[in-house]
Amino acid sequence: MKRRKVDLAQAPVTLAKGVDERYQVATPLRALLNKVFPDHWSFLLGEIALFSFIILLLTGTFLTLFFDPSMQEVTYHGPYAALRGVDMSAAYESSLRLSFEVRGGLFLRQMHHWAALLFVAAIVVHMARIFFTGAFRKPREANWAIGVLLFLLGFLAGFTGYSLPDDGLSGTGLRIASAIMLSIPVAGTWISASIFGGEFPGHLIIGRFYIAHVLLIPAALLALIAVHLGLVFKQKHTQWPGPMRTNTNVVGERMFPRYALKQGGFFMAVFGTVALMAGMFQINPIWLFGPYRASEVSSASQPDWYVMFMDGLVRLMPNWQIYIPIGNGYSIPPLFWPAVVGLGALTTVPMFYPWIEARRTKDKAIHNLLQRPRDNPERTGIGAMAFTFFLVATLSGGNDVIADKFHISLNAMTWAGRIGLLIGPPLAYFLAVRVCLGLQQHDREVLAHGVETGIIRRLPNGQFIEVHQPLGPVDDHGHPIPLEYGGWVVPKKMNRVGALAPAIKGFFFPVEKPAEAPVSPALPPVTAGEQREEITSGR
């Protein structure tokens, strides 16, 4: 009798063949498995944003199963005694129920909130990385603009989410949002009435924000993230200059197995961080704030950190009102400038930065090699300026807390913020440019004379000199032949050129192995970025 042999080892092969017959995936799949990714710790920042977004989707979906986006007045009868018998909206009641009566509900609520904070934070730091290294230059301008949009959407997602529980803080935020809409000239009252469905607060806003928060904004985010990553994939990642690295290649690891596995591990670590924070650190304890009442607010009621800069700008704005004495008279309240014009400008102008910079420098070349911040002092200065502005504005968003904690007069804090907002950024620009030039100078010195060894030699004539270790070949007199700058780290310590073992020892290597980075005479010379002329001119 002939038994049909089932060869288990052959099963996957047969399956794969069957799939390929139908979909012709062999070649594209291989290209995907093989795709080379460069590695550097700073390339992980975007990943943190992506992973927190995934966590937001997971935890948020859980929350929707219990949350009730209704402004119906109900009376609380739940286990939290301090609020029993209090009238509140069904939205607030269901948020309390999520916190107290759903097993693990508070944990997931806090996970959602921490992931949201991490999401926006990762976006901001990731943007800073892109900016300061010039990764937005041609051909990646569009992806920078998409990134700025992602920040704006993240901001809106956070604000709408913060408003949903309808507690004292979220209502206060909504009230200010309504005032911001009202401040828009001509159409303000129409916009506010249309969005709130009548006078503030009405009965619709939570439901509307809810659908924006769980459907419209996440869908837009998802679509933009897909395009963002698709472009990174298509255009290939930028890389730092270094041995073997040129503008026309990518040096790194193939996506599989090592790179993908590292990403997976990193995702779990981010997930773990969010879980730990959600468990250990309380966030947005809505039961302490009580339901929203138009007549109540506590001092030191702070929005989430990424909204604080707006709040700060609004606080610092002087009370300049524009009156237009026609007919009954019209006015543009000061709130309009920071909240509508300011937020609008702060999110749209940066979008065009890649084109602005390219125009200014008349740069039409394709750039796949990153620049060290020191090598483009002007851009670094602009970035420092932007961050100082953001920092002063954000700190001013909590100026009442600072004033209270440090016993400073509140008015003094406001004035300090106003002055700081004007002189801080230029000062930061100046300092950043000076620091960049200084660092450049030092790099050039080491390249010309070698690394300081710390060894002092006494010459026969009694003179003391410090011995320098040349980084490259020497001429007939033993003087180092000056090396060209390669746009990457110049080793400045003896252990960086292999004279001593790397300082960090142990289970994990440092993220970037020190031996890899420096220019070693054994490897082919670094191919410099095409901007070298500009770099070395020390602009």
Binding site: R30, L182, A294, V297, S331, P334, D400
Partner: protein, 364 residues
């Protein structure tokens, strides 16, 4: 610049002598990749160092598993229902976070260590293909698109009737598609009578033409003696639901000034045509809704007679018509004209004269 793999030869993958890695390398070559190094991080097989790494990774995975089990056990068995006081249930969320966090951390670091330490170290170089497509491709596609545009565009140009029909026939359809999406949202802010933008719950129109009482949040009316000298109280219109968010513009701060302050306040109020005669005795009432962005301006400083709004720190001078003296607010807080009805309860003599709440374009 030339890279090595330009010179490397394609190999015949059907050659049975090829190792699997050689086939992988051929695949890489076809993807413009040169695998420069791919080498184990350990010297020899079964080195001591390798064993140590494997032990560490295994340990991390074990801890991850144990913490994961612990998470499930805590999730099920730990008392989780909220109870007042210091109970075990207070630690439910922290213990969940701790166990899940440890599990995920150990899993993550185990995987990272596996990838970083056990898998061979690799340097590969892949060529980029920047710049545009080949010029002939660009040309063909460009011409194809122009061809399409021409077919449609010239077709329209040659046929003016079609042009008109598209303009007049299809444009309205676009508007028609947008109208139901947007139109339903639009609300006229000036539609109500009395207009909602300009009136509060103290408007007698909401109380059958009778003057509206000042009430506490529970709806009980107030007599002058209910507010002690130097004291203040948040009051609401005495109409149904007057203390709810339905009347979000109505919350009012009733202040019983000390006599000397009241004199100053009265002098200032009487010097102002809109606030003249609005005080009642030493009592003064201002809208609590900040004229800046609508937060309740609720921090009353007795010593300085200032009212501070906690949202953006606008400060208002209580004894001078609540003029803003610091911060971003530009407009004073509206004053509610006070009087007392036959039964001795506070009532609003009439609605606010100034518009309450944050400023807007058409506020007179």
């Amino acid at each position: 610049m030339t890279t090595l793999h330009d010179e490397t030869e394609a190999v015949d993958v059907s050659d049975p002598r090829l190792s699997r890695f050689e086939i992988v390398k051929e695949g890489a070559r076809r993807d413009d990749i040169e695998i420069v190094t791919y080498e184990s991080q350990f010297h020899g097989t079964d080195s001591k160092a390798e064993k140590r790494v494997v032990r560490n990774i295994a340990l991390l995975f074990f801890i991850a598993g144990i913490a994961g089990i612990a998470f499930v056990v805590f999730y099920i068995a730990w008392p989780w229902q909220f109870e007042l006081g210091n109970t075990l249930s207070d630690y439910y969320t922290p213990i969940l976070g701790l166990s899940l966090g440890i599990a995920l951390f150990c899993l993550g670091f185990g995987i990272l260590a596996w990838a970083k330490k056990l898998l061979p170290h690799e340097v590969s170089i892949q060529k980029r293909h920047d710049g545009g497509s080949p010029t002939d491709e660009q040309k063909i596609t460009g011409q194809t698109m122009l061809f399409v545009a021409e077919e449609l565009g010239q077709g329209v140009q040659r046929r003016p009737l079609l042009k008109g029909a598209i303009g007049l026939g299809l444009a309205p359809l676009g508007v028609a598609a947008a109208a139901p999406l947007i139109g339903g949202l639009i609300q006229n802010p000036h539609r109500d009578n009395p207009p909602m933008m300009f009136s509060t719950g103290f408007n007698s129109a909401f109380n059958n033409g009778k003057q509206v009482r000042l009430t506490r949040s529970d709806g009980t009316p107030l007599r002058p003696e209910d507010v002690s000298t130097g004291g203040q109280l948040t009051v609401f219109p005495g109409i149904p639901g007057g203390a709810t968010n339905e009347w979000a513009d109505s919350p009012t701060l009733l202040i019983h000034l000390r006599p000397e302050d009241a004199d100053v306040a009265r002098k200032n109020a009487d010097a102002d045509p809109r606030n003249k005669g609005s005080m009642w005795g030493d009592y003064i009432a201002y809208s609590k809704i900040c004229t800046h962005a609508g937060c309740p301006a609720s921090l009353y400083e007795q010593q300085t007679n200032r009212l501070l709004c906690p949202c953006h720190q606008s400060q208002f001078n209580i004894t001078d018509n609540a003029q803003p003296i610091f911060g971003p607010a530009t407009r004073r807080l509206p004053m509610l004209p006070l009087t007392v009805d036959d039964e001795g309860f506070f009532v609003a003599a009439r609605d606010y004269k100034d518009t309450v709440g944050p400023d807007f374009w058409e506020r007179p």
